[in-house]
């Protein structure tokens, strides 16, 4: 039936992974009795437990007994940043094919068994991480059945040749279709220009040539290398005891091999050598504009300062500088925003907007001027305090469901952040000073070297 019920959830702008920040590098013991400049809403501390299984998998567990639900996720360092050169799409295709057949279940049986008990299995995928998230009723029988399907998918996927060939053809069609869309063209071009030959430049879904070339052996090999027990992060949130969680984690990872050698690090992201501007004509009525540069990594010492800066520049709440300048003052756009995507290495800093094609250059100038103003002058004290109040005052909204908590835990586990990371997040934001923001902006976001992609108009006049 109608999705109107579900749709507004999306607009609350609350994808929990986006909001996360890491304070690894700047975690200083909190002084007892420290006073906050703002009234910090009191949140009960989350009692996250963590341990390592015998074969090396890291486990994070949070008990929550109110609802008869359990969320279990398992992730591996097998995102698109692990695509080999010239093989973009390898990581995502491996993940997708894992649920298309196992040693004892075919693709229909996998779907039917999960559907039959009302369990939901989704995939998570980004440049660093790849895995599955299972939501099931906590009833022991049901839970056990659901977890058994997940275990099969992780431990013994069969990568059936025939289905791989079928899905390659399907995927190529979807990729070709998506590459007609201006929003996809702008995002993929921006990513390629920003990262070049760095692994983060790999387009996760692949392109027609690389998908065509993928073989079953490629997928088997990728699975063998990266889906290993000592790199796995298991998260369990919900209506199970610590003992049960321990058993679940052990059982889920038991059949996985250990890594044969230490995984190589993803290299540092190089600075842009020069500014790059790409203009791609398109028949759409709007221009799609994306502007940015390499941003921050998880654990970056400037993280909190820059995160607040991005909030002030183009964050949520319909109150950002970009929203003010482009939408409220000039009516140039329906949506203009900026954000950081922190990864193991520096993820992108992005400013994104759409506007009628003939207004593209005006809007781009306004966006650039807005960024320059923030970098040159820093935010006002009022802007900084407002941003802090927005982030801190609403922090509870980010963790008011098991689903969001599970997603946070997966991030904390994967990036090896402190277990009290969530509890301390508002404090870390509160501690950021004006000087830190100005300093970080000047060093990190100076718009002298940027990547700009404009899809729509023929050329700059």
């Amino acid at each position: 039936m109608s999705l109107a019920l579900d749709f507004p959830v999306n607009i609350s702008d609350a994808h929990p992974i986006r909001r996360k920040a890491t304070g690894k590098a700047i975690l200083v013991p909190l002084l007892a009795g420290m006073l906050f400049a703002l009234s910090l809403p009191a949140l009960a501390a989350l009692e996250i437990e963590s341990w390592t299984t015998e074969n090396g998998a890291r486990v994070l567990y949070l008990e929550s007994r109110v609802l008869p639900i359990v969320d279990v996720s398992i992730e591996f360092p097998a995102g698109s940043g692990r695509d080999q050169p010239g093989m973009s799409g390898l990581a995502s295709m491996t993940l997708a094919m894992m649920r298309k057949g196992t040693r004892s279940l075919d693709e229909n049986q996998i779907s039917e068994q999960l559907a039959g008990i009302g369990a939901r299995l989704s995939s998570t995928f980004n440049p660093d991480r790849s895995g599955f998230a299972l939501r099931t009723l906590s009833d022991a029988d049901i839970r056990t059945q659901a977890l058994e399907v997940l275990r099969e998918i992780i431990v013994s996927p069969s990568f059936p040749e025939e289905i791989l060939e079928r899905d390659k053809v399907r995927n190529i069609a979807f990729i070709e279709e998506s590459q007609t869309r201006p929003n996809v063209i702008v995002a993929q071009t921006f990513q390629q220009q920003l990262y070049g030959s760095h692994p983060y430049g790999s387009i996760g879904s692949g392109n027609p040539e690389t998908i065509t070339a993928l073989t079953r052996d490629d997928l088997l090999d990728f699975h063998r290398r990266f889906f290993v027990s000592d790199e796995a992060v298991v998260v369990i949130v919900g209506d199970v005891s610590r003992d049960e969680a321990q058993w679940i984690a052990r059982d889920l990872t038991n059949g996985l091999p250990k890594a044969s050698s230490t995984l190589s690090d993803i290299p540092e992201v190089p600075e842009l050598a020069e500014s790059i501007e790409v203009v791609i004509p398109h028949s759409a009525s709007q221009a799609h504009i994306r502007l940015g540069m390499p941003g921050v990594r998880r654990g970056d010492p400037d993280y909190f300062a820059l995160w607040l800066a991005a909030q002030i520049l183009g964050g949520g709440g319909m109150t950002s500088m970009l929203n003010d300048e482009l939408r409220e003052k000039r009516g140039l756009t329906y949506s203009a925003y900026s954000y950081f995507s922190p990864y193991l290495r520096r993820g992108p800093f992005v400013i994104s907007l759409q506007t009628r094609k003939d207004q593209a250059w005006e809007a781009l100038d306004v966006a650039l001027a807005t960024l320059e103003k923030l970098v040159d002058e820093g935010p006002t004290e009022a802007q900084l305090q407002a941003a802090k109040r927005y982030v801190i005052g609403g922090f509870a909204l980010n963790i008011d469901s098991n689903a969001e908590l599970a997603s946070y835990l997966a991030m904390i586990g994967f990036y090896q952040l402190p277990l009290d990371y969530i509890d301390r997040f508002p404090e870390e934001i509160d501690k950021v000073t004006m000087q830190q923001i100005r300093d970080a902006l000047g060093r990190r976001l100076a718009p002298s070297r940027t990547v700009t992609v404009v899809v729509g108009p023929a050329a700059k006049p």
Binding site: M1, S2, L3, A4, L5, D6, F7, P8, V9, N10, I11, D13, H15, I17, P41, L43, V66, L67, E107, N108, S111, A115, G116, G118, R120, S122, S123, F125, N126, R135, L137, R166, R170, A173, F174, Q179, T180, N183, I185, Q192, N207, E209, T210, S283, A284, S285, Q286, G316, G317, M318, R330, G331, L332, Y334, Y337, R389, G394, A396, L397, I399
Partner: protein, 483 residues
Amino acid sequence: MPLFHSSVLTPARSDRKQVQSCRRWRAIGVILLMTLPLVFLAPAGHAADASVHSKILENGLEVFVKVDNRAPVAVSMVWYRAGGMDETSGTTGVAHVLEHMMFQGTVETAPGEFARTIAEVGGRSNAFTAADYTGYFQELHKSNLELALRLEADRMVNLNLDDQEFAKELRVVMEERRQRVDDDPRAMVFERLSAAMYVAHPYRQPVVGWMSDLENMQLSDAREWYDSWYAPNNAILVVAGDVNPQAVFSLAEKYFGPIKARPLPLRKPQTEPEQTGIRRVTVKAPARLPSMTMAYHAPRLADVHGDWEPYALSILAGVLDGYAAARLERELVRNARVANSVSSDYDGLRRGPGVFYVSFTPANGKTVEDVELAWREQLALLIDEGVSDEELRRVKSQVVASQVYSQDSVYGQASRIGRMRSLGLPYDAATSITQRLREVTAEQVQAVAQKFLVDDKLTVSVLEPQNLMQEANADHLNKAQSE
């Protein structure tokens, strides 16, 4: 599926994602997958939910409070029983434009101050407009609930409709239309499909409005809309979260109580005349792959306890596309390989007539004609042989589980109550609906397929791809990727 992108509009963007769902390959089905159970999300238990408290103020405002103590948060929503279907020809889109104007200041507050004030306490605010209703919400720390209620009550009656703000906001809305519809071939198809399948009913009008109507909209149109529909006796207030019901009732009384009830415009049924034969519509748009959506007129859910057909239709949509190996995916995508993606959805939770959709993207080398033929074969099979007990069991298992999962979202719980009341159903309809869905039989599913999935109720829409500059663009991307 874009079906609902164009029917629910919001003033803020909604397209940020970081960890992508790998379901993106189900280009069409991605949103529809599992929608059947999601709709019927219900509070725990089969009896009326004891954690929901309700009260009707003297001015007619309905107030509902749903207690959920898991986190110190509160969600406040006000729903108005007015949306795109209440608009008249020439002023389509006015419900949505007014929704944008609701953020542009009142007698007491400056333009933008509403969102700014909520953001300053860490709250999120937004709104949505659909064919059937318009809704506004704030999510915040529970200590700030009063602020949200005060501001929401203020703009129910004190809106300041300013010429300059209006002109600017119209430009924003036109950008929104370009972004959501004009440049999205599938949304375009859905818009033209709706315009073709309804002759008399206002569901034929796009919620975002025709571009020409937006270009010619007057401030007086927005004023008239506001004066007509924004009244406490046409609204529902829902608060969910870690709150005390009596305290919420007091606040509601304090801020909304003084607002006077007003006579509402007469609502005419504008009944859609019986369709007399199959209709077909073609949309040419820049795209690479063709696609096809078939829409059948179907009943709406009007009487939760008396009706049975809507429940059977809902289960039918689940049998066709309720899980990854459901019929359409299994037969047309996995086995016959005539389609690259499929989806099916029944929308019966509406103020106006219901609709049953099936959509397809043909596989490589296949045409929309091939896909239509394959669908007709599946339909014949369904009508002749019905559905299996196993299929029924799987769909119902998901209904039951979804009922439990739905309690994980505070927003979702508030939204369900507001939506049911907006549609004229009991506030706890979701609970009854779940129960009724579990009672659907295989014979009932077969019967509704036979009765409603017939050509005389069908409108077929086809997206006919027009390659413009896309070839060059794709080449550009793939070249850059291989560099």
